[in-house]
Amino acid sequence: MSSTTATTHGARDHARAQAGATAEAMPVLPARSASGLPDGVPQERLTWAETVAGGGYASRVLARGTTLRLTDLHGDACAHVLLYNADQPWERLNVADTVKVPWQAYLGAGHPLLSDQGRVLASIVADTSGHHDALCGTSSRDANARRYSADGGLAHGPAPAGRELFVLAASKHGLAPRDIPPSLSFFQGVKVEPDGALRFDGSAGAGAHVELRAELPLVVLVANVPHPLDGRDSYTCSTLALHAWRDRPTQPGDPLWSATPESERAFLNTADYADARGLA
């Protein structure tokens, strides 16, 4: 007896019979057909609905004015995020300016995520977690190999490092390892002690979410991996949900626009660029 996949027709039938299966981590297309949406996510305007497994990654190009909600479904997600101006990806998230310009090391609602060109790539417009990190970046192969297993850290191994996943995600947008700067992470917090020591303070628990508003057209890279300071012996990272929908960029009159003098000039620079570039 030959197997059902011994012939092209048999193999085709076998492949096609898999359609309709579901997994916890998967994209839903069209996004507007996604079910079980969190409160406040407008189904009719969705442009991206995807769940990302621990150890997984996702990426997307999002229009200016899009709102992206990240949800820590089970309490152990850690969303490492990089942002690029999709029109000119050599303009990208600059974590130093993102903490220096607002005079604030800790991320939360209202925080502008700044590029190296003095513009706002995205604004944090909602945050029910308060446990985030802009300082420690993502995990490396070297650190994961020492923490989890000798072959840890590789994308095909049991403990993928965030850096490895960013290399893959970036590649899909024509970007190379040299294009991957330090990243931000959401849902696992870090605080700085008075002597400069870094203290990991973990998760806020299941169900927390963060919303980012795209202030420019963005390439968004997301790697869902344990935080580099997560001291647990096992590679612990749970599913992350991503929902994006059409919305508006921050405008004059929005409280965010003039929240601080630095923010206002950052939004002015952003609007100035978008206007000259012909972006709505």
Binding site: V99, A105, D142, A143, A176, P182, V192, R265, A266
Partner: protein, 218 residues
């Protein structure tokens, strides 16, 4: 008879033992770069005191491997650099180690000033001023490095505390004339420097001054 005074001007700095292979003064506001070979020591002397020295490191033979502020502070568990700090690449590989430090702490968070970020921090009237990113771009171009190769940098002698509520900022420096920090190259390392020209905050005491770079072979 009293001995004659030395003819040459006494140079400031506390240098390690060994043969001097390079001894250069970087003028105020200027860029600088050099390859420091594995095992050699680079001493950075703050000649005038409280002079921020912005610095990015690259593996001299594989410049895709470069300093990562995030990897460096995550692995050492502290935001400040001082003696014992290992300066690592994004992959965790040591590029250089701080082997002596007379200042006490150096910044990993503040990054480089740029004409663009100056417009946010101080206003658009500062856009015309020179900035560290300009130095990095111009000096990096000599080595084939471009804008995509710039990452969060080290700020030697810059003082950036973080308050309990997360407030962070560049405050008055802890350095003084002649203080020296010495780094050992763990592999051949391209050192890219901007002698910070910023005049709108206290990182240079509002008066950018020269720094001395000395490479010794122990």
């Amino acid at each position: 008879m009293t001995p004659a005074e030395p003819a040459q001007e006494q140079q400031l700095g506390t240098l390690p033992d060994g043969a001097i292979v390079l001894d250069e003064t970087v003028p105020a506001r200027a860029p600088w770069s050099a390859v420091v070979e594995a095992g050699q020591l680079l001493s950075i002397v703050d000649l005038g005191g409280n002079q921020a020295v912005d610095c990015i490191l690259y593996d001299a033979h594989d410049r895709e491997q470069r300093y990562s502020a995030a990897e460096t502070i995550a692995q050492q568990g502290s935001i400040f650099l001082t003696t014992g700090s290992v300066l690592r690449t994004f992959e965790g590989t040591p590029l250089m180690t701080v082997v002596a430090d007379e200042c006490g702490r150096h910044d990993t968070l503040g990054g480089a000033c740029s004409k663009e970020s100056n417009t946010l921090r101080y206003g658009h009237h500062t856009k015309h001023q020179h900035a560290c990113v300009e130095n990095f771009l111009r000096e990096g171009a000599k080595w084939g490095l471009g804008k995509r190769d710039l990452v969060s940098n080290i700020n030697w002698y810059m003082n950036v505390p973080v308050e309990p509520d997360g407030t962070l900022g560049i405050v008055d420096g802890l350095s003084s004339p002649g203080l020296t920090v010495t780094l050992r190259a763990e592999r051949d390392t391209l050192v890219l420097v901007s002698n910070c020209p910023q005049v709108n905050n206290p990182c240079n005491g509002f008066d950018p001054t020269p720094v001395r770079m000395v490479v010794t072979q122990p």
